[in-house]
Symmetry: C3
Subunit: 352 residues, 3 copies
């Protein structure tokens, strides 16, 4: 891979002292499931009381992948020679002997289940503070008064930073999503502001005084007058970007409602990512057609982004020489996020 | 490949001064066949008198794979420009000229055909001593009084040591083969003895005083009383492990018969192996149903082991960090075999 | 890839100050097409006036592959964020702003369209002299009095030098094409002369006084007497080799006509090539069956060569140790061409 860390200039491709979306809540069950996260193999399951568990997915006895084993109560039994580990990672039983070998332990990942998502902490266990999660309540993912849809996860052959860059430059909407996002063809021409907020950053666009398009009509059937529509891209950390925003009546400035698209990004490996999407709105709670519409839009829009960043990943992995990168003024926000991310990774390296 | 030589600590992954099963007797014919062995491309065929021949499979003229050529009498004619080589590897003819170039020679591998298997020697030709073959007569593969079945070969994406380790820790039978090996679910709990024998090593288990299961009933229809059953794993060198053993009447101790499973393991490349199996028994010679049963068991059991070691190979080749290896007391035999194998490889390096 | 530059002893696998066939004329249209050439991604299209254009196929903004964009007039618009580049490679427009960033330029490749083929120059633009193209008129590709067929391109997983070597040692015809090239079975036995000509080299064979085979009868229906047939292999540079030659009446020496096979070879990447073939004859212009016959022969013969060189590429990429190369006397021409090619590559390295 010729351009292994592009667009970052750091050696380590991702921060580890970080919460990441590991799975949607419905993916984690009494069936063992393995997922690569930050290049590690993580085993996910639920205890009999429903609590989600995340431990290392490789048996320390003979490196057998543990998802091929089975659950015995709250413990995982390896499918090869039967080594059995509790949800705390400690070896509880070796079938061929009494007692267990020293050091026969699985790494345990701290878990928080919130907003329909199972989050794991990939740094040292002692530093795992749920307060370091992005403020999910503020964006409607874990708050009263919001209706949420959790979309199915996509695993993509692309470094996670390509998805962060994608979401932070919404001028791509005009080209990639011209036919799938209503009024998308106009986004590239909107003026942009960049605002740093609480360790994060928002790239904001606003369409002002536009006639309500069919999607807005579906969301707010009584609105015939002109509206203002926000096209935010809010970086809340490497694990989460919010897009969307508030739609308001143009004349009065009164908010009609807020529709957020919550993009949860998890590095699977240096060149692969998991992409979780949730949609959250603070209006139309009794209208299930809006949720169905959001899910249907997701199945049309998400593949367009996946295709784009996979195509770039293929270019980056190839041996063809790359042109010297140029940026537009509109890339200012994305470039600031690159520096935030690099600073986070470098701070970890210094602390280690 | 992050863990290229695991579980060995040597650089060279396999010994070369060694006989290896190259093919079953029926695979070698008047049609050219190429097989990768120890990372080399070996061409196998029979002379007109039936003698098996093994030579290098790459033409020294322009690196064309010789199995795409054809046999002319006892010689191989390259399919590209017609360079022709005798069974001793010497170039005999170049169609475009009189005489042959110097050094136009194929490497020749010493061959012994024994027990329904074509064995080749991968060390220096002068050291190729058939006496260095494992004692095939002792295990029923090349001896009067035994009935033998030769199973079809499997080529597996796994380093050959994973298969050696698999066979030497039969506690896996309880988990991998619980439903396919009669009484297999009890193997992990049997006590184990380890006995060094003539440069090899036997990990022995014995089920004592068990009722004859359906397989034993099929093998010894007159036996209704309790039996003792051996579950040996006998390492006879890196190329061959015998499992199985003798079934005896529990009360009298009288042997009813011996059923051996003969596992012939040949490294194809650092991460790939050929797996040859033969079954040999010294009873029931006039009962062809027993042979059919052995072959049918093979088609069910062998894929379970192949799946297990391929899954480990995938883990080893991945970039995920591996946990520090732990072993059970029952692994003692397998760990001794690792050291035997490493010593064999190191001795070669010193002698070279 | 263990033998990355075989059979060359240079580090750089190909010369760059060179014209190469990039596409047949019919492949280049108002649809964007990308092709890997010398490890670079080249974008090909036609302007509205029909002129062929070749520019770099990777957007310098965010490395998006430009063939996924679209043509706007004579310009290419990137499919991701809409950066738009003219046929001279200069950035003309960035949708989100007025003006364009500095250095936002695509590399432009000089193009000549000749003989039904679009040729590009991969060296510095200032050195791109159409006079450095092989003399296409001399071999009937771009000359009055010749009838030409352009065959469909094949992209082959093999280093381009393997195809050069293949074409320069036509003794392979006897083995690879014995059934598809009339009288091919006799080629290996014909005496060979090697003649250096104008920076190139011709390996010549002539079948003398042979009865006209069915192909010759189809080409020259009135010829019943014995003929002489040339089997030339003329290296005119790394991009082009001519095979075939003149067929004459044996008794009088009078030429009946010339049938050339024009092989245009373009490195795609270190281990991959594009193979363009044209057939040209100076007789039978009013007999379309001869053109159809040439195209049909191509679809049978070309895959035989592709299979052969792909098989060698697989051997070269493998980890198996290669035998020390030996050559026949008939390889003299091919060995001289290796040295010509190495000298061309080394001269570039010295000049750089």
């Amino acid at each position: 891979m010729a351009h292994a860390s592009y667009p970052l200039t750091t050696e380590q491709p991702y921060p580890r002292r970080q919460w990441w979306a590991a799975a949607t809540a419905t993916e984690v069950s009494r069936n063992l499931v393995a997922r690569d996260i930050l290049g590690e193999r993580v085993l996910l399951y639920r205890k009999e009381d429903g609590t989600a568990v995340a431990v290392s997915g490789i048996c320390p006895h003979r490196a057998f992948p543990l998802e091929k084993g089975r659950l015995v109560g709250d413990s995982v039994q390896c499918g090869y020679h039967g080594f059995t580990f509790g949800p705390d990672g400690a070896c509880q039983r070796v079938p061929s002997q009494n007692g267990v070998p020293q050091h026969a332990t699985l790494r345990r990942y701290p878990v928080v289940e919130r907003g329909g998502v199972v989050w794991i902490w990939t740094g040292e266990e002692s530093a795992a503070d749920p307060a370091l999660l992005p403020d999910l309540a503020a964006i409607g993912l874990d708050a009263p008064g919001w209706t949420v849809e959790i979309h199915p996860v996509a695993t993509v052959e692309a470094r996670y930073t390509l998805l962060i860059e994608n979401l932070l430059d919404l001028s791509h909407v005009t080209f990639i999503h011209a036919t799938t996002i209503p009024s998308g063809e106009k986004v590239a021409a909107l003026p942009v502001t960049v605002e740093a907020r609480s360790g994060g950053l928002t790239v904001a666009r606003k369409a002002v005084g536009i006639p309500p398009n069919p999607l807005i009509k579906a969301q707010f059937p009584d609105q015939d007058a002109l509206v203002d529509q926000e096209f935010d891209a809010q970086y809340m950390g490497p694990c989460l970007i919010r897009t969307g925003g508030t739609i308001s009546d143009h004349a009065s400035g009164k908010a009609l409602g807020t529709q957020n698209f919550i993009h949860m990004i998890t590095p699977a490996a240096p060149g692969r990512l998991h992409y979780f999407v949730a949609t959250a709105r603070d209006f139309g709670h009794d209208n299930p057609a809006l949720g169905a519409m959001n899910l249907a839009m997701g199945t049309r829009i998400q593949p367009e982004d996946v295709d784009a960043i996979s195509a770039i990943e293929t270019v980056l992995r190839g041996d063809a020489p790359l042109p010297r990168e140029v940026s537009a003024r509109v890339d200012n926000g994305a470039l600031q996020v690159r520096r935030l991310l690099e600073a986070q990774i470098r701070a970890e390296a210094l602390a280690a």
